[in-house]
């Protein structure tokens, strides 16, 4: 079978799998977030943390919950790393240095999972399991909770209540993320993914030299790493490592896992707003953007323009032989489109255009299909802006799902959209000023600029994948990238919850023939166009000096 045919087969299989679970899983999540009853296990949790699960919260209380949980999580995760030497299962690895500890704490709490450390030598099993993995679950559930709160803003009318953050959070973890993670881990172990508490295994190579191959409880982490669109590998090589991702089918399963929640949440959205077509429209936007990015990157990787890769016939450097171009590209596009950041190939080694597409895919704002929950709410924010402009063109003050988009709504949506470009442009622009940056770069010229731009794009969008080729351990990068992750996560969340609050307060305007329909092709084209246009207008100049300059050679 040719490479292309195999690749197309994989894409087809992936889409078929997603299509099969879409309705069932989306409806299941709908029931999870609208269920009136609490499971026994959940009631125990509510009693333990002393929250009233039936209290309905205002957007401010809901936001305070998100921020409070995240702040406590950052502090705890920082302390766990700083005190690692005192913890069991640390495998003798010492306290993590403050810069890395801060950056990592922010990174995992914000669902970014940017890794400025080598896990095999820095993090012990305890920090991995009790610290990082816990945040993998919580940060994913927070994203879903915020998305659900925003949907409630559209659905509810004349109320200032958006639901209960603690209930949404707990249900996300207990009823959605945990069961799939357990099940998925068992499946992955059968595929050969490592699951061990040993530090490593000594091996003697063919040359007679002995070395230690690191081991870790990988399988249990691997599923939530993808499912929660986290992306922080337990090994440095991430999903390129055979212990994390040994075979073609595990590769496909991992891609499926990272797409399944963001994609199916559109069904949940459709069910909650009472019209599944609204969800179909959004998932079509997501799929359209994903498909355009995938085909462009795939073309770029098979049509390289550098002299060495031209001889090889394709850009294979930095890609795993067992995956090849199609499966590597498929993973790269899916991970950059979901804010996951897991990688099974080195994006730095992609062609100028291919790497540029990966970067652009992140810079779209993580909406195709985006992270768990974050993808849906980010896309809804774009939809609000698109509807605002298009709504004017049908001669009404714009409305979306029966809610008027006025000053407050546009302000909230604007702040949410403005955050990421601000962080990326200011971050990358400022990073190019200090001379220390030149030492941190492996490459000069256009590729060097791409590396810096990618770093700020990845962190500000809470993606976490790295273009590598850049050493980010100096104080400047650790702190600015950490700040970019925190602001990139929490400013939009606050804006989105504020948006939800002001939407919920409104009464619902009935749909008439004069209402702009928010299903169907025209709407899909409009939202997709808005996403592309905002990204293109904002980042074209910067990208012209990086990936475009490389690609156009």
């Amino acid at each position: 079978m040719s490479d292309t045919a195999a690749g197309l087969l994989q894409v087809g299989l992936l889409l078929a799998l997603l299509a099969v679970v879409y309705v069932q899983f989306g409806d299941y999540m709908f029931r999870v977030y609208t269920d009136k009853r609490h499971l026994r296990a959940e009631q125990v949790i509510y009693r333990l943390v002393r929250v009233d699960p039936d209290a309905d919260q205002r957007w401010t209380t809901y936001a305070a919950g998100v921020l409070g949980l995240s702040a406590v999580s950052i502090v705890l995760l920082y302390l766990l790393q700083r005190l690692q030497s005192l913890l069991p299962l640390s495998l003798g690895r010492g306290n993590v240095e403050p810069g890395i500890a801060f950056n990592t704490a922010v990174s995992f709490v914000t669902n970014t999972n940017w890794q400025s450390y080598v896990p095999e030598t820095v993090m012990g099993h305890f920090v991995q399991m009790a610290g990082l993995t816990v945040q993998n679950f919580l940060s994913a559930a927070v994203g879903m909770a915020v998305a659900v709160a925003l949907i409630r803003g559209f659905v509810r009318s004349r109320t200032d209540r958006l639901g209960n953050f603690w209930v949404d959070l707990t249900r996300g973890v207990v009823r959605i993320l945990l069961p799939i993670s357990v099940l998925g881990a068992i499946v992955l172990i059968t595929g050969g993914v490592a699951m061990s508490l040993r530090a490593g295994v000594a091996v003697t190579g063919l040359d007679g030299n002995s070395s230690t191959v690191a081991l870790a409880p990988a399988a249990s982490q691997e599923v939530i790493k993808e499912l929660g669109t986290n992306g922080g590998g337990i090994f440095n090589a991430n999903s390129a490592h055979p212990f994390e991702n040994p075979a073609s089918w595990t590769n496909l399963l991992e891609i499926f896992l990272l797409l399944v929640i963001p994609v199916s949440l559109t069904r949940t959205f459709g069910r909650m707003v009472g019209n599944v077509k609204q969800g179909y429209a959004l998932v079509t936007v997501m799929g359209l953007l994903w498909a355009v990015m995938l085909s462009t990157a795939w073309w770029a990787e098979t049509h390289p323009n550098g002299p060495v890769t031209l001889t090889a016939g394709a850009a294979l450097e930095g890609k795993e032989g067992r995956f090849g171009i199609p499966a590597s590209t498929l993973f790269a596009i899916s991970t950059t489109g979901t804010s996951t950041g897991a990688v099974n190939s080195m994006h730095d080694s992609f062609t100028g255009l291919g790497g540029g597409i990966a970067m652009l895919h992140i810079l779209l704002g993580e909406v195709s299909p985006g992270g768990t929950g974050t993808g849906l709410y980010s896309l809804l924010v774009f939809a609000v802006i698109a509807v605002f402009l298009a709504g004017l063109m049908v001669g009404r003050t714009p409305e979306y799902l029966g809610k008027k988009l006025g000053r407050r709504e546009v302000t909230a949506a604007s702040i949410s959209i403005l955050t990421m470009p601000t962080l990326v442009l200011l971050g990358a622009g400022a990073a190019l000023v200090p001379p220390s940056t030149m030492n941190a770069l492996n490459n000069s010229g256009a590729h060097g600029l791409s590396e810096v731009l990618y770093a700020y794009a990845s962190t500000s969008n809470n993606n976490g994948s790295a273009f590598s080729g850049i050493t980010v351990t100096n104080g400047w990068f650790q702190s600015t990238l950490g700040i970019a992750m925190a602001l990139g996560r929490f400013v939009p969340i606050l804006a989105v919850l504020c948006l939800a609050g002001s939407l919920a307060r409104q009464k619902t305007v009935p749909v008439t023939a004069g209402t702009l329909p928010t299903t169907g092709g025209l709407f899909v084209a409009m939202v997709a166009g808005t996403v592309l246009l905002v990204a293109a207008l904002t980042f074209v100049p910067a990208m012209a000096l990086g990936p475009f300059a490389e690609a156009l050679v």
Partner: protein, 705 residues
């Protein structure tokens, strides 16, 4: 009495609108640009610019580039500086032209407000009879206070807005409405309001002043059309926020570009960066936004409608339920004869002849319509002959409930069925049983039956029945169909019984009706609609309409209405033509569409500008970026300058569109959107490619570029 005058007044108002709009709307002419230039220059003041975030950024850029051009003079620097100033100036020009058109109208209004004197009566406690107070004091109208009583006699100008508390007079309101036919205003009832600046033609009235000087109706009108009191509407504020957001993004994009360019080995000239910034930020819509709003109000004024705020105009675009009074709006005010049904043994011609005869001297609209019908369908003479002229007319009275004519011994009568039947029996005739069936059928259709009978040669007999119908105005069904396509539901309000109302509602094609409507019913209906999230518009004129007008989201008061009603509504129609509410809805929609379309156009323009400017900036360090120069612009300087020039000229080119508004044809949201996206979205992408290319052909000829 006053109502009769009003009835004749209404249709002429509507005719006038079509007749006048051609003049008042005034096609945009380049001369307006020139005459607005001084105003535009005055608006260069930063204190004015700061209200518009987009143009303020351009203003700062212009200052910066000017300073740099002075420091290091060069052809390129000077030209960029000049064109940046032109960009600001053109934006000011758009606003000034829009305001200028209003000013012309304000000027004609102001002439009516010329200083008048008032004969003021200070009320004396305990004496309710104002006329008995012979001693009035003459004071300038500017000194009048609310509650003052003034006497106005024939030939005098009413000194201020007020209510007639005593007397009746004909008033010439042409200064306000442009309508020359006088109207009758009298104390009590719904026609008691008078407007300052109008002239009393006959009689004497005592007016209680209801507005402070400087806050009168005319003053408010002047302020509105001049745009002096213009506040940004909610949607305009929201759009401004979005434009400011885009501006911030582009400021960041350009700011971050400099270190990146420096890293790449080619730091850019600040002039070039400013040029790029100005080209990217949405200057087109930023420049035209306030002109669009002013022009929207202006279009309303041209149709003789005054809105108390731009907010109301915007709300009109959103209206989803329209409450329309049946009489005068949906139907002609008067019932008309539409059919003649003869009883057995009588020909229709006989009936027509008798019906005509009975109506010859009947001056009522119903009577005239019977003549018209017999002339049109039975070719009977319209004018009475000499014999008929000498006949004796029997007028309608409440007692007889009949009218008719006596020609010698022969008598003809028409009237209510029971009255005519009694009259026939009284003269020895019999009433055929079928008459009852015919009249019942007509009643059930929502029409009124008039029975026609005669005494001829001493023999009394019933001839037949005349059907008087409420005639739906032509074109109403189509109009309501359009409204339905726009997503607007029409509800007919009538005092008729439900049976009649249903029949007329079906004829007119309205979606719903409210029969035997009381003011309370109206409010209840509006509340119910609003509960369901609908935006309701209605018209009204009486004081008892005031609560409903206030409750409605858009309440249009007839100028003939009471002061209370005018105060409650948020629009006043000077022509007192309720049908105009539909026009107002369209103007509201047009306003929003124009904003959306020009914003889309403005943003879509950026693509071409990137293709022009980016290769010009960076082809030096990365020659491969020269491939992006798809327009084949001559030099980097000519490319940048051409983009800046295009950016400035497109503002001027779009001023007429901003003033006129994007063409609006009632249709569904999808087809509207598709059309506008195609014209302003796709057009917005293509136009600058062509424009910049053409400008570059000229710019490249400038030495030093």
């Amino acid at each position: 009495m006053s109502t009769t005058v009003q009835e004749t007044h209404r249709p002429t108002g509507a005719e006038k609108r079509t007749a006048r709009s051609g003049v008042a709307a005034g096609a945009f002419s380049p001369r307006q640009l020139l005459s607005s230039l001084p105003d535009a220059l005055r608006k260069l003041d930063p204190r004015h610019q700061v209200h518009n975030p987009v143009m303020f950024v351009v203003w700062i850029g212009s200052v910066l580039v000017t300073v740099l051009a002075v420091a290091r003079p060069g052809v390129f620097a000077i030209l960029v500086a000049a064109w940046l100033w032109f960009t600001v100036l053109f934006a000011n020009l758009a606003e000034a032209v829009a305001e200028g058109r209003g000013k012309a109208q304000a000027e004609s209004l102001r002439r009516t407000r010329k200083e008048t004197v008032a004969r003021c009566l200070r009320p004396v406690s305990g004496d309710a009879n104002y006329s008995s107070q012979r001693h009035s004091r003459v004071i300038p109208s500017a000194e009048l206070r609310v509650g003052d009583l003034v006497v106005v006699e024939a030939g005098e100008v009413i000194p201020g807005d007020g209510e007639i508390v005593e007397g009746i007079a004909t008033v010439d309101e042409s200064a306000i409405t442009g309508e020359s036919a006088p109207v009758i205003r009298e104390s009590g009832g719904d026609f008691s309001a008078v407007t300052g600046g109008t002239t009393v033609l006959s009689d004497r009235i005592v007016v209680e002043i209801t507005s402070k000087p400087g806050e009168s109706f005319v003053d408010r009108m002047i302020a509105l059309v001049e745009g002096a009191q213009r506040q940004k509407t909610p949607n305009e504020v929201a759009l401004t926020i979005l434009l400011a957001t885009l501006t911030i993004i582009f400021v960041l994009t350009v700011a971050a570009l400099q270190p990146m360019a420096a890293y790449s080995g080619d730091p850019q000239d600040v002039i070039v960066l400013v040029a790029l910034l100005v080209c990217l930020i949405p200057t087109t819509i930023g420049a035209l936004l306030s002109a669009i709003g002013i022009a929207g109000m202006d279009r309303l004024v041209q149709r003789n409608v005054l809105a108390t705020s731009g907010r109301a105009v915007e709300a009109a675009g959103d209206v989803s339920t329209l409450l329309l009074d049946k009489t005068g709006t949906i139907t002609f005010g008067n019932r008309k004869a539409t059919d003649l049904i003869a009883v057995q043994g009588v020909t229709v011609l006989e009936l027509a002849t008798a019906a005509r005869l009975s109506s010859l001297a009947d001056g009522t609209p119903e009577g005239r319509s019977i003549i018209e019908l017999s002339v049109a369908e039975h070719h009977l003479p319209a004018q009475p002959d000499d014999v008929e002229r000498s006949a004796e007319f029997v007028p309608f009275t409440a007692q007889t409930r009949m009218s008719g004519i006596d020609v010698g011994a022969d008598q003809v009568r028409k009237g209510a069925a029971s009255a005519v039947a009694a009259w026939v029996r009284q003269h020895g005739g019999t009433v055929p049983p079928e008459v009852e069936g015919i009249t019942r059928e007509i009643s059930e259709d929502g029409a009124t039956p008039l029975v026609c009978a005669e005494v001829s040669g001493g023999q009394a007999r019933v001839l037949g029945v005349i059907r008087l119908s409420d005639v739906v105005k032509p074109g109403m069904i189509e109009r309501f169909g359009e409204l339905r396509a726009m997503g607007i539901r029409t509800v007919m309000i009538t005092g008729d019984n439900p049976l009649t109302a249903r029949a007329i509602a079906a004829q007119a094609g309205v979606d719903d009706f409210l029969a035997e409507a009381t003011p309370e019913d109206k409010i209840a209906l509006i509340r119910r609609e609003q509960e369901g999230g609908q935006l309701v518009a209605m018209t009204g004129d009486g004081t008892n309409d005031a609560p409903a007008l206030a409750q409605a989201d858009v309440g249009m008061t007839m100028n003939s209405g009471t002061a209370a009603a005018k105060e409650a509504g948020n629009m006043v129609d000077l022509d007192s033509n309720p049908t105009k509410l539909i026009d107002v809805v369209e103007i509201g929609k047009q306003l929003l569409i124009t904003r959306g379309a020009l914003t889309t156009f403005s943003i879509a323009n950026d693509l071409a500008k990137y293709f022009a400017i980016l290769p010009a900036m960076f082809a030096g360090i990365y020659p491969q970026l020269g491939k992006l120069n798809v327009m084949r612009l001559a030099t980097p300087e000519s490319a940048i300058l051409s983009a800046v020039v295009f950016n400035a000229l497109i503002i001027v080119a779009l001023i007429p569109l901003a003033l006129r508004g994007v063409r609006y044809r009632p249709s569904s949201a999808v087809s509207l959107l598709r059309r506008n996206l195609l014209i302003y979205g796709v057009g917005g992408i293509v136009t600058p490619f062509v424009g910049i290319y053409l400008i570059d052909l000229l710019v490249r000829l400038i030495p030093g570029i």
